[in-house]
Subunit: 334 residues, 2 copies
DNA sequence: CAGGCAAACGTAAACGTTTACTCAAATAGG
DNA sequence: CCTATTTGAGTAAACGTTTACGTTTGCCTG
């Protein structure tokens, strides 16, 4: 249907090898032939077939990206960075939405294997043994995003969750708060759960504030759960002056609930988020939060992955810098 | 490296044709051979190579999706629906972020061609002649999302923008508003711009309210532009009682600005959005808006595209139903 | 002017499948 | 028991590239 390299060769009266050579600037042909070939390529509007190429050099110039939820603001910020970097380096991205479902994840991994992707980016999920085994089998480089693992040869890029939470709470304390509640992520989550809780505890302790389990609440990172948690905070621990949420979405849920209960933020209660999604700037008042540079993280992870693909060497994990972005949901208590 | 069909054939003492046959349940082999083959497939952990398969049947089971901005909430809602449908039908998705840049778009189209995608989903952008020509050349089915075209053989799926805007304004009028401003999208945008403005005008006229160009403002669908527009509304047309924004993001920008100017929404001014992104529920007060069923639109468009790929026939365009979702940013004026 | 060498190009195998064609053995029909 | 048909299987071409290797030509050197 589409013209092939063979068509070009025939029309230009050369062999396909020659066409291939001029296509790749490999030398071994005269200027005259180059001209002739270039010319007929234009005439026929010839486009190389990446599939055929992939078959022979065992490279598809494609990477697979797995997200627990593509439609979340978190994932799409990451995806933006990934897409940009990856395309700039002549790769493409195929996205898969795991829905946090092990079966689905495994299925997608199989799919990516069949499609011969050159590497895999695995985001925001813990790398289970069964995933790891399959990945090992595939002999394909993997890098984790916003996650972490002890399995060998799997670098990750993320921020320091413990430190970020610590800094957030430290910030709150510096602003004069002492009765600080936390809306944590999913209970037992070893990546985005426990470390952030630990950061919260340790920061409290460092300032001589006893950890009070009545001030610790669990959500699932989503808006509704933040909203629910805030309701119980308001009921059971109304003396709290500040709430630290382990995600912006939960923080915003808390914010709305507070407002709906007639509280002013930050006058009556301070709220601090985690992530710095685009959202955080858009709510009102704008959310003070700890920033994960998601776009950069996406780019860095892609960079590492492509390095691994092209060099065959294992990249180093990287901890990116977080920062606190002060907006208007935290007040100073005097 | 990985075992191929040939390895399986050798180990099982059959020909590769036989292996291929049992792989595809084509019949023409005894139970005994099937068992033997299935067995060795398991032993070798054989996985078919989709690249080789793609080369021969000229199908990659992959579709390309172009977004102006993958990281927008709008795109990611669409992507969610697309991803789900597409994967359920044994295709994969490769995403491209055009940044609304013609050069980039063309480049991606080329890329998708080289990668031999089976079809293309083109979202939220007008199909320029140069894109269309290239697409024609590629001989690949295309369907437009949230866009429209007169070019033949390119179906689209979207809502009725004129009617949706009309209904929104009609709703506002029914609530007693008469001085209604509009924050429109990009000036001259033939899809998401003009028709919505027309809906606004016509709805006004239908109720005997004269269109007043002082009440029409232009943004670019993004948060900041809504915010800016609101500022000028407040300054130049403070008598306005309701603002209809052509996107949720702009509506939310307007909302924040109103709040920052000490106005209560909806008591002092009503605001209505357009899209019903996840965001709309999260701001506060929750945004009244006209809903585009983005997830469904993504699924429907994917369905049409896959139909076209598999049947070779051109699908019908489809206008999806919009609806007004009442939340708390519009008040009744008596 | 023979010999050698580089430049310019062609030949063909390989990548891992699918599938049209062929063929032998088994079975069925008369 | 012989022929016709079906069943079970193998052979090889094809998909569109890349690339190792081979071949031809012309030119330079001694």
């Amino acid at each position: 249907m589409n013209p092939t390299i063979k068509d070009v060769a025939q029309k230009a009266n050369v062999s396909i090898a020659t066409v291939s050579r001029v296509l790749h600037n490999l030398g071994g042909y005269s200027d005259k032939t180059k001209q002739k070939v270039d010319q007929t390529i234009k005439e026929l509007k010839y486009q190389p077939n990446a599939i055929a190429r992939g078959l022979i050099n065992k490279r598809t110039q494609t990477i697979g990206v797995l997200f627990p939820d593509v439609s979340s603001a978190f994932s799409s910020d990451l995806l933006h960075g990934i897409d940009e970097f990856v395309h700039n380096h002549n790769y493409s991205v195929v996205v898969c939405n795991t829905d946090q479902d092990g079966k689905r994840t495994l299925k997608y991994l199989q799919l990516l294997r069949e499609k011969q992707v050159d590497g895999i980016l695995f985001s925001s999920e813990v790398l289970k043994k069964e995933y790891y085994d399959l990945l090992e089998d595939m002999r394909v480089p993997v890098v984790l995003i916003s996650s972490q693992t002890d399995f060998p040869n799997v670098p990750y890029v993320k921020i320091d969750d413990f430190q970020a939470a610590y800094d957030a709470v430290d910030y709150l304390v510096a602003k004069g708060h002492r009765r600080i509640a936390m809306i944590s992520g999913t209970k037992g989550d070893p990546i985005a759960g426990t470390p952030r809780i630990e950061g919260y505890r340790k920061a409290l302790e460092a300032h001589g504030i006893a950890f009070n389990s009545r001030y610790l609440f669990y959500g699932d990172f989503m808006y509704e759960s933040g909203s629910r948690a805030m309701k119980t905070i308001l009921k059971k621990a109304p003396e709290v002056t500040a709430v630290f949420a382990a995600s912006d979405e939960m923080a915003i849920g808390a914010l709305s609930t507070a407002a709906q209960h007639g509280l002013n933020v930050p006058e009556d209660i301070s709220i601090m988020g985690y992530d710095d999604l685009r959202l955080a700037r858009m709510v009102n008042p704008p959310l003070t939060t700890v920033r994960q540079p998601l776009n950069d993280i996406g780019m860095i992870a892609s960079g590492k992955l492509i390095d691994m693909i092209e060099s065959g060497e294992i990249a180093q994990s990287q901890i990116c810098a977080h920062s606190i972005v002060e907006r208007q949901t935290v007040r100073t208590i005097t």
